[in-house]
C-alpha cells in the first residue's frame, strides 16, 4: 500500500498556493518554471484544476528512459528521478501523456513530482484540501461515498 496525491478540482480556488509551495520547497525561492505542479484556470467559468505527476504504475516516462534515470521504486507508488543518470534526452517529456514531466533549462534537469519525500508541500499549502496525500486504497473512498449518498437520497425520495 502506498500513498498517492489525490486532486479534487471541485474544491480548487485557483490560488496557486500549491505551485508556490512546490517551487519553494525545491529551491527556496519563487520561480514559476520550477514548480512540479501546475494549476490551469478558465477565467470566465471560474474553474481551476491542479495537475502533477500521477506516478503511473506503467509509467511511460520510466519505460522510455534509456538510462533508468526515471525508475519505479520497488514496492512504492513513486516514480523516482536520479539526476546523476539523466542525459537530458527529454524522451520522458515526450512520452508523458499528462505533460507532467518537464525539462528545466536553468537547472538542466527533469522536473516531476517527487512527493517531497513523503510529505508533499503542495498538500500542506492548499487552503481548501483540494489536494490530499492519501493511501491509494482509500483515495477514492470519499468520492464513492459522496455518490452513494446521492443515490441514497434519490431512493429515499422515491
Amino acid at each position: 500500500m502506498s500513498r498517492v496525491l489525490m486532486i479534487h478540482p471541485d474544491k480548487c480556488t485557483g490560488c496557486h498556493n500549491c505551485s508556490l509551495a512546490c517551487g519553494f520547497a525545491h529551491e527556496g525561492q519563487f520561480r514559476p518554471t520550477a514548480t512540479r505542479i501546475h494549476v490551469y484556470t478558465w477565467d470566465q467559468e471560474g474553474f481551476s484544476v491542479p495537475l502533477m505527476c500521477q506516478q503511473c504504475d506503467d509509467a511511460s516516462c520510466a519505460n522510455v528512459c534509456p538510462t533508468n534515470a526515471l525508475h519505479r521504486v520497488k514496492g512504492q507508488a513513486l516514480v523516482e528521478y536520479d539526476r546523476t543518470k539523466c542525459i537530458g534526452c527529454r524522451m520522458c517529456v515526450i512520452a508523458c501523456p499528462f505533460g507532467s514531466a518537464a525539462y528545466d533549462a536553468l537547472t538542466e534537469s527533469i522536473l516531476k513530482c517527487d512527493t517531497c519525500a513523503g510529505d508533499p508541500a503542495c498538500v500542506r499549502a492548499c487552503p481548501t484540501a483540494a489536494i490530499e496525500f492519501v493511501d491509494d486504497s482509500v483515495a477514492t473512498r470519499g468520492r464513492k461515498k459522496a455518490f452513494a449518498t446521492k443515490l441514497k437520497a434519490v431512493f429515499e425520495e422515491g
Binding site: G14, C15, Q29, F30, R31, A34, D43, Q44, G46
Partner: protein
C-alpha cells in the same frame, strides 16, 4: 535583491522607446513597492497640474515585494496615475495573476508614458518587450480582448486590458486583468485609453529570491494559521463572499438605500451573500496566493439576465441593489458582468445610476432627457441598460460616463451626487457608522472605504469593538487603518489579510522576505509616509480642506428608517482631531516637522 527585482521598465508610447532602469534601494526600503513605489516614482516625475488625459500624465503598474511569493493573499499590483475623475492621485489595486507575472518577468514597476498614435498593446516576455499594433482589438470587450491577446502572444499570458469604457474615456473606467479582476477606482482605465494602450500581456520566468527562506516560511505559516482561525478570514468570506455584509450592514442600519435617502432596505436579504450562495454561486475563487477565497464565480443560467463571470462583491451588490432600490439579484449579477466586460468600476457605476434615479424622482431629470426611459428607483431593466450605454457612451450613457458628480451638475443639482472629491462613496452609510465617514472625507483617492476600513472595528469587531454611532477615538482609528493599509498595499497584500493578521505579522514577513528589517512601527511609518506623499500631491493639484467633506445630505438629512433612524454624520467635528493626529495644520497641510520625520523633505 530579495523580495524586489530591483528593475523598473519604462515604455514611452510617443517615441516607442523602451528602457530598463535600476530601482533605488533606499526608495524601495522607504516606499516598499506597489502603491508606495509607484506613488514615489509618479510624484517625482509628473507635475501635479497635468491634465489626466495629457500624454504627460503617466500610468504606473507596480507589484509589491509579497507579489509572486506565498505571502498569504499577497499577490496584488497597484496602478497609479492622475485621476480624471477626482483631479487628484488615483491608486487602484487588483489581485488575480497579472501582478505576480509582471514580477516574474523581472519588474518592480512598469512606467507607461506618452501616447501612442494608434491603438497598441504591450507584450512583455521577461527581457523582451514589444509595442504591438492593437487596431484589430479596439472596440473589443474585455473577455474577447483577453483571448485575442493570448492567441497572439502566449496562451498562458496574463493580460491587463481595458474594454470599450476605457477606450471611450468613461471617467469611471477600470483596468481589468484575468477578465474579472479590476483595478477599479478613479478612472485608471480612461487614462489607459487616452494613451491608446489597449492591453499589457506578460509572461515571466524569473525567480523571486528570499533573504531568509526559513524565517519567511515560518512567518507565512503563522499568518495562514491566524487567517484560518479567524471567523471572517477563515470561514465567512469563503462561504458567502464579501456580499455577506449586506445583511450585517442592514441590521446596523447603515445600508445606504435609494442614493442615501435612507439607511435601511427591507428586502436586502434578497441580494445578500447567503442568497447569492444559494442561487447563483458556482464556486469560491481565490486570487494568486490567496488563503481566503472571497471571489465568487457565478452564473445566471437563463432568462434576460443570463451570463457568467465573477461577482458581485458586496459594494457592487449594494450600488446596483439597495442604492438603486433594486432587490433583483440576477439583474445585479448581469450588471456586474457588464461592468467587468466593458471595464467599468462597479461601485461608481451603480452609484451613478442611483444618483440619476434620484434626480428623476425629484423631477430634475425628465423622460425628455432620458429618451423616454423610466429611471424610477427599483427598475432593474433600466440599471442593466444604462450600464451598457455608459460603457459604449450611447444616449444618456454619454452623460453618465462622467460619473455622478458631473452628471448631477449637468442637471443643476450636484448635491444629489453622493461623492467625495467627485468619486462615489461606497456601501456603508456614514450617518450610521461615524468613523468610515471620516475615512471617506479624507481618503486621498476620493470616496473610498478600503484604504481605511474602520468597518472592521466599528461593525465587525475585528480586534476591537467600537460603537459605530459615536465619534470618540474614531480619528485615531482612521489614521491607524489608513497607515497600515498603505503599507499592506505597498507590500502587494490584500487588505482582507487583516482578518487574521496584524502589523506584527506583516512586518515579520516583509523583513524576512526582503532582508530589510522593519519593526511594526517602521512598517506603519512607511504607510504614513505614503499617505503624506499622496496628500502633498493632491494639495499641489489644487485640492484643499474644503474637499475633505461629505455630501451635504449626510450631515443635514437624517436616516429615515431602521436601527439608525435619526442619525447624521459628524465628520466636521472629527476633522480637526484627525488633522492634529496627522501632524497637519488647521488647513490640512502636512507641517515641515512631520514631513522631516517621515523623510519626505
Amino acid at each position: 535583491m530579495f523580495g524586489w527585482t530591483g528593475k523598473i521598465l519604462r515604455v514611452n508610447l510617443t517615441t516607442g522607446a523602451i528602457s530598463k532602469e535600476n530601482a533605488d534601494p533606499t526608495m524601495l526600503a522607504e516606499f516598499i513597492g506597489a502603491r508606495g513605489l509607484a506613488t514615489r516614482l509618479f510624484c517625482n516625475e509628473v507635475d501635479a497640474n497635468v491634465d489626466a488625459f495629457s500624454p504627460d500624465n503617466k500610468l504606473i503598474f507596480s507589484p509589491g515585494p509579497f507579489t509572486g511569493t506565498f505571502a498569504p493573499s499577497g499577490g496584488r499590483y497597484h496602478v497609479v496615475t492622475k485621476s480624471p475623475l477626482t483631479g487628484g492621485l488615483a491608486g487602484a489595486n487588483s489581485g488575480g495573476s497579472f501582478g505576480p507575472e509582471l514580477k516574474y518577468a523581472g519588474y518592480d514597476a512598469l512606467i507607461v508614458e506618452g501616447k501612442a498614435e494608434r491603438p497598441v498593446y504591450l507584450w512583455i516576455k521577461d527581457d523582451v518587450v514589444e509595442i504591438r499594433d492593437a487596431s484589430a482589438l479596439w472596440g473589443k470587450w474585455v473577455p474577447e480582448t483577453t483571448e485575442l491577446v493570448r492567441k497572439a502572444t502566449d496562451e498562458e499570458a496574463k493580460v491587463a486590458c481595458i474594454g470599450p469604457a476605457g477606450e471611450n474615456r468613461v471617467l469611471i473606467a477600470a483596468i481589468m486583468n484575468e477578465m474579472s479582476r479590476a483595478a477599479g477606482r478613479g478612472g485608471v482605465g480612461a487614462v489607459m485609453g487616452s494613451k491608446n494602450l489597449k492591453a499589457v500581456a506578460v509572461v515571466g520566468s524569473k525567480p523571486i529570491k528570499v533573504a531568509d527562506p526559513k524565517g519567511f516560511e515560518a512567518a507565512v505559516i503563522k499568518g495562514r494559521e491566524l487567517l484560518k482561525a479567524h471567523p471572517v478570514g477563515g470561514a465567512g468570506l469563503k462561504a458567502y463572499g464579501t456580499d455577506v455584509l449586506v445583511n450585517i450592514l442592514n441590521e446596523t442600519g447603515a445600508l445606504p438605500t435609494r442614493n442615501f435617502q435612507d439607511g435601511f432596505f427591507p428586502t436586502a436579504n434578497k441580494v445578500g451573500g447567503e442568497s447569492l450562495a444559494a442561487e447563483i454561486l458556482t464556486r469560491a475563487k481565490g486570487c494568486f496566493s490567496c488563503y481566503i477565497s472571497c471571489g465568487r464565480a457565478t452564473k445566471v443560467s437563463s432568462g434576460k439576465f443570463k451570463g457568467e463571470g465573477e461577482g458581485p462583491e458586496y459594494e457592487a451588490a449594494w450600488s446596483m441593489g439597495p442604492d438603486c432600490g433594486i432587490d433583483n439579484l440576477q439583474a445585479i449579477a448581469k450588471t456586474n458582468y457588464l461592468c467587468n466586460e466593458l471595464g467599468i468600476d462597479s461601485i461608481s457605476m451603480g452609484a451613478t445610476v442611483a444618483c440619476a434615479m434620484d434626480l428623476f424622482q425629484a423631477g430634475y431629470l425628465t423622460s425628455k432627457d432620458t429618451g423616454g426611459m423610466d429611471l424610477s428607483f427599483g427598475n432593474a431593466d433600466t440599471l442593466v441598460e444604462l450600464t451598457r450605454m455608459t460603457g459604449l457612451r450611447e444616449g444618456l450613457g454619454d452623460q453618465l460616463a462622467l460619473g455622478s458628480y458631473r452628471f448631477a451638475e449637468l442637471y443643476g443639482h450636484p448635491e444629489f451626487s453622493m461623492t467625495v472629491k467627485k468619486q462615489e462613496i461606497p456601501a456603508y452609510d456614514p450617518r450610521g457608522v461615524q468613523g468610515i465617514g471620516l475615512q471617506y472625507a479624507t481618503c486621498n483617492r476620493g470616496g473610498c472605504h478600503v484604504k481605511g476600513y474602520t468597518i472592521a472595528v466599528e461593525v465587525l469587531g475585528n480586534g476591537a469593538k467600537l460603537d459605530p454611532r459615536t465619534t470618540k477615538d474614531k480619528p485615531y482609528w482612521v489614521k491607524l487603518f489608513q497607515d497600515l493599509t498603505a503599507a499592506i498595499d505597498a507590500s502587494g497584500g490584500c487588505i482582507f489579510g487583516t482578518f487574521g493578521m496584524g502589523g506584527d505579522e506583516y512586518a515579520a514577513m516583509i523583513s524576512t522576505l526582503t532582508g530589510v528589517t522593519y519593526t511594526t512601527e517602521d512598517y506603519l511609518r512607511a504607510g504614513e509616509r505614503i499617505w503624506n506623499l499622496e496628500r502633498q500631491f493632491n494639495l499641489r493639484a489644487g485640492l484643499t480642506k474644503a474637499d475633505d467633506a461629505l455630501p451635504v445630505r449626510l450631515t443635514t438629512q437624517p436616516i429615515r428608517t431602521g436601527p439608525a433612524k435619526g442619525e447624521l454624520s459628524h465628520v466636521p467635528e472629527m476633522l480637526p482631531e484627525y488633522y492634529a493626529l496627522r501632524g497637519w495644520d488647521a488647513e490640512g497641510r502636512p507641517t515641515p516637522e512631520r514631513l522631516t520625520q517621515l523623510h519626505l523633505v
